[in-house]
Subunit: 213 residues, 2 copies
DNA sequence: GACATCTGACAGGGACGTCTGTCAGTTTTG
DNA sequence: CAAAACTGACAGACGTCCCTGTCAGATGTC
């Protein structure tokens, strides 16, 4: 009956890990499981039960990290998104060639992540709008990616590039359109090799974001 | 017990209409109801029961026209797609200005259909990938639209335009990207007026499909 | 070593949608 | 007018998933 007042108690360690560490690790396993299922079986079959089974955890721990299925799905999409954004920005920083070279480096990093882990590719390019909650998140992500692309293009291409709202709109078309192309390419429906997909994206970005000469 | 052999019988008229006419009219009502619900409530709430209620028909007639919910959903998407494709091609034929003018006429027709009937806009730009069956259909449609765009661009811009697979890939990026932009615009998330959206599309199409000079 | 906490397995209620079947009433044909 | 076809309303079985709750066993702390 008496509930020990443990609101702020850090909990005790278990298996050498603190309560917060264990919870974080479980959440990570659940997100990874969600990405795997979402990218292979698709949204409809990515049920809470299936995610728990894939992660080797039970339903109770699902609710420890997420309020419901939608939260896990959007968390998975978010994780993939931040991963490829980080990869792209890191590649830009690591490259020191021409603007086009740096664009190719960024797109190459994106394409490589998505193709070496097909599940992530499917999550980002196909299943990202399979659900009302996912669609809402996807829209925000497209806008955000477009901003990143516009900003980076502006700093890479300098005076040759637009800035402002118009550049953002063009960048949005590029982001959504290129995602579609990469999705088809991952499905094997586009007869190009890796470098050609990257070059195509770089050419298109230049055509779309640059000021007409 | 005895089943009269009525395999090829045309059925009898009812309400002045033949069996085939009645069935076709019911199917049309069901497709229209599906478009309405899909474009307003979204895919998840577009249940078979809801579609029947919206169409003023009962479940039995649903199965007369469709094998299941997915078939009705894809039929709705197909109906919207052919409508805007027809509108775009008719606008190109009716226009006799410059290539850019004719492109604007085509895009204007598309934008007008989607904005005067918001449900159709949502079906095409948002809900078109809300479901595995819809996604499959959408992919085919994007490829088909891209072919149409590439073919038309080639004949409109002549030597200035690519042709072949490369043009198809660029057109695919344009189709999917512009769909995303129009979707956001329909949602009120893009601060442009109707003509600006059309001009933006025309500029992008020219930039994307034309040979670099 | 006793007690509290954590963990994993699993059962089952509740909600929702699909799909089939029945039945009474209406319209057409012979 | 009678028989046959058509129509609309509705009930209910079936399956699936979400979510809660219980219980035994493992792992900590005191």
């Amino acid at each position: 009956m008496v509930q020990p007042d443990q609101q702020d108690q850090p909990g005790r360690s278990y298996g050498g890990r603190s309560k917060a560490e264990r919870a974080a690790e479980r959440r990570e396993r659940l997100v990874a499981a969600t990405i795997t299922l979402l990218g292979t079986l698709g949204e409809a079959r990515t049920t809470m039960t299936a995610v728990c089974a894939e992660a080797g955890l039970t339903e109770r721990y699902f609710y420890e990290s997420f309020r419901g299925r939608d939260e896990a799905l959007t968390a998975a999409l978010g994780a993939v998104s931040t991963e490829i954004a980080d990869a792209a920005l890191a590649a830009v920083r690591a490259s020191d060639g021409s603007p086009q070279d740096r664009v190719r480096a960024a797109l190459g990093a994106v394409v490589d992540v998505l193709s070496t882990t097909p599940a992530k590719g499917r999550v980002l390019t196909r299943e990202s709008s399979a659900n009302a909650a996912l669609r809402e998140r996807r829209q925000a992500l497209v806008g955000w990616f477009a901003d990143v692309v516009a900003t980076q293009s502006s700093s890479l291409f300098g005076d040759q590039a637009w800035s402002g709202a118009r550049a953002g709109h063009h960048a949005m078309v590029f982001v959504a359109g290129y995602a579609e192309l990469v999705g088809s390419w991952l499905d094997g429906d586009v007869a190009l090799d890796r470098d050609q997909v990257v070059d195509l994206g770089a050419d298109l970005l230049a055509a779309v974001v640059r000021r007409p000469t």
